[in-house]
Symmetry: C2
Subunit: 118 residues, 2 copies
Amino acid sequence: MENEQVILALAALAQSTRLDVFRLLVSAEPEGLPAGEVARRLAVPHNTMSSHLSILSRAGLVRSERFSRSIVYRADLDALRSAIAFLLKDCCGGRAEICAPLLAELTPCCPPKVTTDA
Amino acid sequence: MENEQVILALAALAQSTRLDVFRLLVSAEPEGLPAGEVARRLAVPHNTMSSHLSILSRAGLVRSERFSRSIVYRADLDALRSAIAFLLKDCCGGRAEICAPLLAELTPCCPPKVTTDA
DNA sequence: TCCATATGTCGAGAATTATCGACATATTAA
DNA sequence: TTAATATGTCGATAATTCTCGACATATGGA
């Protein structure tokens, strides 16, 4: 991921409405949500939301697809992954002793084994 | 990590000079660098740099300590870790199936075992 | 066609941010 | 005290961003 691309992604998420939008879309995966529904749920005028969605879109953090009259937005988790990987590699920079404890803390968030109980 | 704190951290890194500063300070760990040296290396006037350093500082991403006439800045990797954990948990949100592949990609960046060869 | 719905674009004002000259403070050493 | 070094603060300007009313476009149905 390029420098400029990361800055776009960080800037996109560094705004409370857009951070809320992104989280909403992550929670709505994999179905996504139409633009109007996003605006309604976050109580933001549709044109203001349109601007925020386009910023997230330019940053590559969301994708959109038209279905009839609606345009459905979905979070692009690969883009988030790239951004996070970039930040982590900043720390690593060939020095695992810095990065390892970081990953150690992050891993428990998602146990590698997912056993669907029952 | 609070919402507002994350936004501060993201905003702090979403600016090219500051992203450069942070990376420079990460690479200078654990000794750190005096403010003037940071400004010199990145070819930025000292007062402009002072402003950027204070933004990084307010975001918790760097710490400073005075040594004689110099004020030495160091990257705070714990803060970066918190911010990254926050973003990851956004994705996980109790859904390991989303987060697991993310970690899978990130882990090779820092192999958990570090064997100093030869 | 005409209308309602869903969304995007334009443009302007308010708010925030980035930059840097000028000045202030802190430290050390004549 | 005076000067040199290292850094921070103030204030003004330029640039960018956020917000939202008004208008435009796209879709589907009467």
